[in-house]
């Protein structure tokens, strides 16, 4: 009896120890960090890091709205962040615990305050544009030397899409980005919330849908790099990661990224702390760690996305800070547009249109 009691006490003591070992749970986009940073965080702070990934804002949002996700730090895109803030999903940041806030870049903070007024709830992690990932030699081989690789014509003109279908086209499975892109191409307001205007996006997207091999938001990185496809509508840094993977594999595939001439959507991925985070204290430690100039530069150098951290810029590699596909020139920045969240009824129209485009019904 005594012995049994002793083992039980030992077992209880063990669980107690396990419970006190501090843990931070982070839920971020896939392929979106240099993993050496995760180890560095654990070594510097002694906090255990649980790092999970997702590839769609919709999945994250459902977890946030359901509550009890168990995550301490999540990374929604600006429009989604704005809606989740109004649903009461996040807690205000305690800025006294974030001394590295001084590193942040006012140009980006100014733009993100559109979604999070005063940046009360979030910090910018990365930002980028939605544009074209092109296997240039292949595309020029099919369409000729004067292929419009820097224009939405490349995919939105049915005759181009039809010819390129044989080497494979992927499109983001993200209606909140593809429909604004189509509207912008037509000369309509990309941020329109008018169902009649949104419906017109069908005129651009429907004729090209038979030529799209897959609607997916993460597979295109590998597909571009392996040469399985020659065109993808994708996110800037993801396409550049594909470019590097292809170069590493030395398989003769050459990928370029273009934010199209007609204008590209600019988006901001923001780190925020859920209102029911189990360890908000640790979440602040993580945010402050990420905002360190060196750490943020390490992340950007690895994922090829621009960040909202001005102090990090001196540590950025030349092929990051010097690449206009990552850090656009001020003129190119002016040629971007942003969107705002759809109200529920309009969201239904957008989703229905997207289902129609994806399935043809």
């Amino acid at each position: 009896m005594m012995k049994r009691l002793a083992t039980m006490t030992a077992a209880c003591a063990l669980t107690a120890v396990a419970a006190t070992a501090e843990e931070v749970r982070v839920y971020n986009w896939s392929d979106y960090i240099d993993e050496s940073l995760l180890e560095k965080f654990e070594q510097e702070t002694g906090i255990d890091l649980v790092y999970d990934v997702f590839d769609s804002n919709e999945v994250l949002e459902t977890k946030m709205l359901a509550g009890g996700s168990g995550y301490d730090v999540v990374v929604p895109t600006g429009t989604f962040l704005q809606r989740q803030i109004s649903a009461g999903a996040f807690q205000k940041l305690d800025k006294s615990k974030l001394p590295n806030l001084e590193n942040m870049w006012d140009v980006i903070a100014d733009r993100t305050s559109k979604y999070d007024p005063g940046n009360e709830y979030s910090i910018n992690y990365m930002w980028g544009t939605t544009g074209l990932g092109v296997n240039e030699p292949k595309v020029r081989e099919i369409l000729g030397e004067d292929a419009p690789v820097t224009s939405w014509d490349l995919i939105f003109k049915p005759e181009n899409a039809e010819k390129l279908a044989e080497c494979g086209i992927h499109m983001l499975d993200a209606p909140a980005e593809m429909i604004p892109a189509a509207l912008n191409y037509m000369g309509e307001d990309p941020d329109s919330h008018d169902p009649d205007v949104i419906a017109r996006a069908e005129e651009v997207l429907m004729p090209i849908r038979p030529h799209i091999q897959k609607f997916h938001s993460s597979e295109y990185i590998n597909a571009l790099a392996n040469g399985e496809i020659c065109l993808a509508v994708g996110w800037s840094g993801d396409v550049l990661q594909a470019r590097d993977r292809a170069a590493e594999a030395d398989n003769g595939v050459e990928i370029s990224y273009y934010a199209p001439d007609e204008g590209a959507q600019m988006w901001f991925d923001q780190m925020a702390i859920p209102v029911d985070a189990p360890n908000p204290e640790g979440a602040h430690v993580f945010l402050n760690f990420i905002m360190d100039a060196q750490n943020m530069a390490t992340a950007s150098n690895y994922v090829y996305y621009a960040n909202g951290n001005e102090a990090s810029q001196e540590f950025l590699a030349e092929d990051v800070i010097g690449d206009p596909a990552i850090y656009p020139t001020p003129a190119a920045m002016d040629n971007t547009f942003t969107t705002t969240p759809y109200p529920v009824r309009v969201q239904r129209v957008v989703t229905r249109l997207w289902t129609k485009i994806k399935s043809g019904t």
């Binding site: 709205l65 359901a66 649903a87 969201q347």
Partner: protein, 296 residues
């Protein structure tokens, strides 16, 4: 007392694992979408007492079910799911029956090994097995490489992201559920019946049609239901192996839930799916009961 306890436990399971979750889904399907956490109204406020319960019930309505009739997308998705599930069940039967037959006819000492081989895939995660099919069926995949190598085709076939891949995925995944019940009935079959048929001048094929098939009918029916019922609501296989044109209700449900954040409509879709499934489930139960009566 002990008898009640014995009968009570399974019903308690049914209550906890089926009825309570169903009532929660039903409740959500009668509420309205809202920008809140969780994203629907009304919420049951028990602290307000009886008044709270009254206002809660006053806020429920059938609008979401009416909505499902306004767009033919839902009906086409239900019908397409039933079609895909029906055809996939047929294919599974065509593949599964010969395997079960072979197992039942195999020498006694082989049977445990054969049985093990059928169950073995369950030791690996279902998701990983579906992913490996993506590797097999893709245009640079093993299957195309093999066919190109033996010279049967000179262009890779597009199988991944089509309905063909969905059928392959379903047949592969659900095959054990077809094999096991058929094997169970075939194994019990008295071999002397076949000998008698042959003695009386029946050819082997006729004997198979007249004796083996009817005697394994219960197994065939059980296997078909076990494949058909879960396949209708299948989400993972069509979303990983299917193309954008694969219309199945599981995918529609996902879109309602994740893209529209409309939990009430998503729940209504789920309730209607359950109503559609109740018919085959009841038929399945009847079949099982008949079999038990016959054996009892």
């Amino acid at each position: 007392m002990r008898r009640w306890l014995l009968i009570g436990i399974p019903y308690l399971w049914l209550l906890a694992l089926f009825l309570v979750p169903f009532l929660i889904v039903l409740k959500i399907s009668l509420s309205d979408v809202a920008l809140a956490r969780p994203p629907y109204l009304p919420q049951l406020d028990l602290s307000a007492g009886w008044e709270g319960i009254k206002t809660f019930f006053a806020g429920l309505d059938f609008d979401n079910f009416v909505f499902l009739t306004t767009d033919d997308l839902y009906w086409r998705a239900y019908i397409s799911s039933v079609q895909i599930a029906g055809l996939a069940t047929l294919f599974t039967l065509l593949v599964g029956y010969p395997i079960a037959y072979g197992m039942a006819m195999a020498p006694d000492h082989w049977r445990p090994t054969l049985m093990l081989l059928v169950i073995l895939p369950f030791w690996t995660s279902f998701l990983i097995r579906v992913y490996s099919w993506m590797g097999i069926l893709s245009s640079e995949g093993l299957l195309n490489q093999f066919l190109l190598w033996i010279g049967l085709i000179d262009q890779p076939l597009t199988i991944l992201n089509t309905n063909v891949a969905v059928y392959i995925g379903i047949v592969y995944t659900y095959l054990p559920f077809m094999i096991l019940p058929i094997y169970a009935t075939l194994e019990k079959m008295d071999g002397a019946l076949l000998e008698a048929a042959e003695d009386l001048g029946c050819s082997r094929l006729t004997a198979f049609w007249l004796i083996t098939i009817p005697l394994s009918k219960q197994g065939i029916i059980a296997g078909c239901f076990l494949v058909f019922i879960p396949t209708i609501g299948e989400f993972v296989i069509p979303s990983l192996l299917g193309g954008s044109g694969t219309l199945m209700i599981g995918k529609i449900l996902w879109e309602e839930f994740f893209n529209n954040r409309d939990w009430p409509v998503a729940s209504a879709v789920a309730v209607v799916l359950l109503l559609i499934l109740i018919v085959p489930i009841i038929l399945f139960q009847r079949n099982e009961q008949k079999q038990r009566e016959r054996e009892g």
